[in-house]
Symmetry: C2
Subunit: 304 residues, 2 copies
């Protein structure tokens, strides 16, 4: 409808030149598992002009290169020198160990975050970082039944909370940029105290995981493969988490032992009450009614 003439010659344009400026120019992801790998895949889609540096074992890096998830890669920290954002995405105790190495490998200023499932120990360890680093703990509440880069996907964070645990030393600017970064990947950034975070995930994530694994081990041991073949969807759903990798969970259990112990004790107490009340309908009904109410709350505004 406008009478603006169509220009004869359009300048040469590449799609990546039209993409938004990245929140961080050079992002180093250390550990390309499910979370680190999905961050790389998602960041690549959203900010094609940004540089993605990755550190992991060679065979993982090769997979990532094949999927065009990363630009620069190595199996040692030598490649991260220029990063303006470092994301620690190894199991949590490795992340803590990695914090102590940043001083040696990064000469300039950088924002540092992690994606560990527990926060208090990491935040505490990060206090020893030199002042040119700004650390803000992070935890994207996103996951899948199986870990590893082969299960990474760019939409893993879509609509999921990404919790940051800024402490007194964290700069507000770094927190703002990290929230922008997380939002860019599709997540919903939230801020929370590290201690509150750790208690929350002990119940929301660690307790269900330990329960699913314990249940699967107990049932398998009791009925064997032949018995399992007769199982219905109930056991299948309840144990969906039971394929999770042991190494990640060994670290989570170690770094969040106090909160997880409390959560396990609450569940053990409830199961013991059920056991002692199997012939007392009131005990069963009370737990079932309470569970059904919380389940409705859990599923509110969810589709799956």
């Amino acid at each position: 409808m406008s009478d603006t003439p169509t220009p004869r010659h359009l300048p040469m344009l590449h799609a990546r030149d039209l993409a938004p400026a990245p929140v961080f120019e050079k992002v180093a992801v250390i550990g390309l598992g499910l979370i680190g790998g999905s961050i790389a895949l998602a960041a690549r889609e959203v900010w094609p002009r940004g540089l993605l540096i990755a550190v992991d074992r060679k065979n993982v890096l090769e997979q990532a290169m094949v999927r065009h998830a990363i630009d620069v890669a190595a199996d040692d920290l030598g490649v991260i020198a220029e990063a303006d954002l470092v994301i620690l995405a190894a199991p949590v105790r490795q992340n803590i160990a990695l914090l102590a190495e940043l001083d040696e490998y990064i000469p300039g200023a950088a924002v540092v975050t992690d994606v560990s499932s527990t926060k208090q120990d990491v935040v505490e360890a990060a206090r020893a970082l030199p002042a040119r680093f700004t650390f803000v703990g992070g935890h994207p509440l996103a996951g899948a039944a199986r870990g590893g880069f082969e299960h990474a996907r760019p939409d893993l964070f879509k609509g999921r909370p990404w919790i940051f645990t800024p402490h007194s030393d964290a700069s507000g600017d770094a927190v703002d940029r990290l929230r922008q970064f997380a939002a860019g990947l599709g997540a919903v950034p939230r801020s929370m105290e590290a201690a509150a975070h750790d208690r929350l995930v002990a119940f929301l994530s660690h307790l269900p995981q330990l329960t699913a694994s314990a249940l699967m081990a107990v049932v398998g041991e009791a009925v064997g493969a032949e018995g399992l073949a007769l199982s219905g969807r109930g056991l299948v759903d309840t144990t969906r988490l039971a394929s999770s990798p042991a190494d990640i969970w060994r670290d989570i259990a170690w770094t969040n032992a106090a909160d997880i112990r409390q959560a396990l004790n609450a569940l053990i107490a409830r199961l013991s009450a059920l056991r002692d009340g199997l012939e007392d309908g009131g005990v069963i009904e009370e737990t079932f009614d309470e569970a059904a109410r919380w389940r409705d709350a859990l599923m509110k505004d969810r589709t799956n």
Copy 2:
């Protein structure tokens, strides 16, 4: 290719006249919940020439009539007099109580089965039936996250095991016909001792159910609705069973208390070992590795 002439006038045919002869002519389903309702819907599809009699509360019967699941219905046992198969599909303790009423309401011979999730108590109670009744305990291992006729569906039994627990007094002919009936509805009939059945389902079905409900209650109580809103798929999957109706499970717990107690004790012991070993990586790894192996066994030859 054949030169048989096309007949000018085909006799009037209704689709139902071409349907296979029903295994039982007059099937009475007492209790139109998820299982009883699905039996009626499936039998109607497979054997449209059979008569389906149902007993339940009036509002449930109205739903069933609207879905054309049943032919004859009432909220009392007066309608079942002519049945040649009676299926007890109420909660298990009601099924046991119903057994004592059959003598009064059915003058002739009939095969009687039930769909209760526990078998020893029902089989024991059925020994008191008059000799004109042949009882064979049954349990279709099929279910859904929610009970009630509104969730009933004709394909509920497709590919699922349907366990029969014939005891010494059961006639082989009745067992054969019941197996045919179950197979007709799409299930895979199996036979098993009642005691072996009860132990098996204590682990495969009752333990996961109680665990899911206990977990949901504990987590909901600890983190509240606001915390639950942050939960990922892990908790959602692990607690999918937590909407199950309390009344059915009150009965199951009562009638299978000894086996369930054993299963709960095994799980409590395992969770306690994890709690005491949170800082001992070996304990975590052992359970996770064992669980992952059983999970693979559970998922073998499954698609979901």
